[in-house]
């Protein structure tokens, strides 16, 4: 394996090639139980404590389909504008691997439950890009391997492996796009935006935790290049282990540049699985399979077909929540946002949080300002998602309320928010504990004002002479002297009064 592959300058790639993407997203459903057995579907339990004869592939055990998982699959299909199969089946995908107890995966093959749909994806500049959905099908997850004795727990070089089957049999929906063409230089961005949009959609439907960091949403990115204008698809590679939205974009970009370099130098792209390395933002070749893939799919004889009736499908359609794009449109109207403001809100991942803050009593403008500005900045500094910040929309709403009451100044409000983020409790607790309150004692303020006026006699004269706008300098000095704890409005009033300007 070569250490670093040659890669081509991105702009040059686009001069010579058109990128074609295909994205396969695996989503773990957040059902109570597994796909084919009654074991709990819960992340993070002790190894091999959520298993039974079915998900351990024991002799004689039989699968029975989780009806809720089927409903989720159909609902996801409807949300993705798909057709629902009148009849479909499960199939067995046969291959040996120790994380798969039966040595076949019960999946769907030529009869997916939903197919032929699309998802409209909003790009960073607010433009919409339509991604075609080829199909979404149901299957089961595998167990987890822990590789012992090698470097960094990698499979390569390990001495042996340890298997935990808690995850084996967890319901998965695999969502496969049609080939995405015409994205041009925006292909990496489209890939990220698609996965983002899909994540938001699934989250709004409450069908999955969609945690890329925990593996409940996983993306495989297929990339190929077509010589500009040729219309011919090139050989594709499939990049796995892409564990964040940013990585999706970076992996696609890297593969485009690598393919281009290989093709430009007269080489051929090997159809293979590649692994994305977060630390270098590059991909590396997977170990070639010893035997050619031949999954020997055939209809799963332990299960009977699924034939969703029209009534069932229509009933499920009524259970769809307001979908993200419908919501965006409504919010834009309700909150009277410009396209740009809406875009910033969405890009910051703040829509849900702002909405919840508004629901808790804050004005849309105040709520938006907190989340998109100060809190986004805090999240960035900490390197976490906005939603993972340790502050709730209710807490933000309370801070807004305290400001509105005049109990806090904006500057003090930030101090309170910092206290909440530091785990010091609710806003009221922080206010109490830290003794944060607006200095509203006029006599205390008056002495600070007198000092400030004395320190800047020329400014004092200007004010006395009617130049009230000069009061700002004195107000600033007073605020500084009171360490921001004064109400600036009141200070100004007192300054003007002191200078005979009522």
């Amino acid at each position: 394996m070569t250490a670093v592959a040659e890669i081509m300058d991105y702009d040059e790639v686009l001069e010579r090639f058109d990128p074609v993407l295909g994205l396969e997203v695996h989503v773990e459903l957040s059902t109570d139980t597994k796909m084919f057995c009654g074991c709990p579907n819960f992340f993070g339990s002790d190894p091999n404590t959520q298993v039974c004869p079915v998900c351990l592939g024991m002799p004689g055990a039989l699968p029975v389909v989780n009806g809720k998982a089927v409903e989720s699959a159909i609902r996801i299909g409807l949300a993705l504008n798909c057709e629902v199969a009148e009849q479909c089946r499960f199939a067995r995908k046969n291959y040996f691997y120790p994380d798969m107890p039966k040595n076949f995966q019960t999946s769907q093959y030529d009869e997916p439950i939903v197919f032929e749909g699309h998802l409209d994806v909003v790009l960073d500049d607010g433009e919409t890009f339509r991604v075609g959905i080829e199909r979404a099908h149901m299957e089961e997850d595998t167990g987890k391997s822990l590789h012992v004795g090698g470097a960094d727990g990698r499979i390569h070089g390990a001495e042996h492996s340890l298997l935990d089957y808690n995850r084996a049999g967890v319901p998965l929906i695999e969502i496969v796009t049609k080939p995405i063409t015409g994205a041009g230089h925006r292909a990496p961005e489209v890939a990220r935006a698609y996965v983002t949009a899909l994540r938001d959609l699934l989250r709004s439907m409450h069908v999955s935790d969609v945690r890329m960091d925990q593996g409940s949403l996983r993306c495989d990115a297929n990339v190929s290049l077509s010589p500009k204008g040729s219309g011919e698809f090139g050989t594709r590679t499939e990049t796995k282990n892409v564990n964040s939205l940013r990585s999706v974009e970076r992996a696609v970009r890297y593969e485009m540049r690598r393919h281009a370099a290989v093709l430009a130098s007269g080489g051929e792209i090997v159809q293979e699985t590649r692994h994305f390395d977060e630390s270098t933002a590059s991909t590396s070749s997977g170990r070639p399979k010893e035997t050619a893939e031949d999954y020997r799919y055939f209809p799963e004889p332990d299960l009977v077909p699924i034939a969703p009736s029209q009534e069932w499908v229509e009933q499920l359609r009524t259970t769809l929540p307001e979908l993200p794009w419908q919501r965006r449109r409504r919010v834009q109207q309700d909150w009277q946002l410009s396209d740009e403001e809406l875009r910033d809100l969405v890009n910051a991942g703040a829509l849900d949080l702002v909405a919840a803050t508004v629901d808790a009593g804050a004005s849309p403008a105040e709520a938006r300002s907190w989340w998109v500005a100060y809190l986004s900045q805090q999240a960035n500094e900490r390197g976490v998602d906005l939603a993972s910040l340790p502050i709730t929309p209710e807490q933000v709403a309370r801070v807004v309320e305290l400001v509105g009451e005049g109990t806090l100044t904006h500057k003090l409000a930030r101090q309170v928010v910092d206290g909440v983020l530091a785990g010091k409790g609710d806003p009221d607790e922080v206010v109490a504990a830290e003794g944060i309150e607006v200095v509203s004692d006029d006599s205390a303020l008056q002495s600070a004002i007198d000092e400030a006026l004395a320190a800047q006699p020329d400014v004092a004269d200007k004010i006395r002479g009617g130049k009230v706008q000069a009061a700002g300098a004195i107000v600033g000095a007073v605020m500084k002297a009171t360490q921001g704890q004064a109400d600036a409005k009141r200070v100004r009033e007192l300054v003007l009064a002191s200078c005979g300007q009522e």
Binding site: P53, L56, G57, M58, P59, G60, A61, L62, P63, V64, V65, R92, N94, F96, P98, P101, K102, N103, F104, S161, L163, E290, D294, R296, Y297, F298, P301, D302, L303, V304
Partner: protein
Amino acid sequence: MTSTASGGDAELTGLSASELAAKISAGETSSEEVTRAHLDRIAAVDPEVHAFLHVDADGAVEAARGADEARSAGGAASPLAGVPLALKDVLTTSDMPTTCGSKMLEDWTSPYDSTVVQRLRAAGVVVLGKTNMDEFAMGSSTENSAYGPTRNPWDTDRVPGGSGGGSSAALAAFEAPLAIGTDTGGSIRQPAAVTGTVGVKPTYGGVSRHGLVAFSSSLDQAGPCGRTVLDAALLHEVIAGHDPMDATSIDAPVPRVTAAAREGAAGDLRGVRVGVVREFGGQGYQEGVQQSFRAAVDQLTELGAEVVEVSCPHFEHALSAYYLIAPSECSSNLARFDAMRYGLRVGDDGSRSTEEVMSLTREAGFGPEVKRRIMLGTYALSAGYYEAYYGQAQKVRTLVTRDFAAAFEQVDVLVSPTTPTTAFRIGERVEDPMAMYLADLCTIPSNLAGNASMSVPSGLSAEDGLPVGLQIMAPPMADDRLYRIGAAYETARDAATGGTLLDRVPRLEVAS
């Protein structure tokens, strides 16, 4: 009833299950006494017959005492409470090993009971032990057991059929009055035929497969084995019925097979239309088998049945379709035996990889027939061959099912010999898989179509004095028809010969 059962209380081991149940229920004997009699009989004759892979004497006695206590406590007793039974070693039991006749599972004890076993226990049936079988139910002679062959009590140089040869031999040797078999291509009916016992493959979906170690999932079906049609019916009603643990289980009332057996025993088949399958007979069929079959058909006519000949043109291709479908499913079902989570592990010396250990284990743990079928199934499903083999076989399956449907528009049941020949000699067909496969020629169509089918003894073949079976086939969920006609025929046959067929089974040498 007279009996050849010695070594053990011959009076008890010679009785049918229904007779035993009646005696236990009346307090004339106890389940413990009956169970001990059968355990003694097993100890005496099984060294010769080798019907059992595992005998759970302690567990059986304990279960028998439980049945006796339940009886004396009064509650509603099930019709087979306290009666002992032999269980094919392909159904999981949490208190005994389940080997499936394979080295692969030599030391495996299931953490759960199969649904069939749960129902047997709930009905107070006493499980004596687990019976021998062709490895993973693949075979027609029980010679493919990793633990040595079972011998046919009629002639211990001959096979008892397979794959459930242990269960039917146990019945014919009076080691148990009841047994459970499983039938994927004839593994209940063919052994029943060649041991002179009764075996029923219920409608597919009629008996839960939960805990039945899968050979070919779309064909496997557990069913009752007994020495009489009534006994099979009683057992059928204990084990049948919907099970939410098996998605292919039919959620409908169990056909009233016991009532049908009792009704049939009255001997009146007027108004019943019987179709003789034209394609099953002639070349390749032993003369004595054909004679016995013709006599049985005559008997049915005498009982008032209207007998016609029916053509099922695709039945002759059923065997070919079966030998593509069953191995295909088996290649997938048996993939789980990989040395990772349970069962045999071979070659794990610290240097070998998982891939090597898997391959070495499967090579060492599976016998030749299992490997052959895995290879065949892997081939039939592989890229480029699927359509020509597996896909086509599934179409033939459609045609066979249509043949049945058309036939059942004309007749209530179909009949044929159960097997083309009587029991063959041990070793005779081991080297010739295709010759072995022919033993299931007549039984396979019912598995492909999923309908109900029975083998009932039709006497002995003139040239070798060995048992012959009459196969009766009914539409899906019309299992009761088998019992009505089977019981009517059985009663008439016994009346004609002045005793049951098994009265004539040779007295086995008693070990003690």
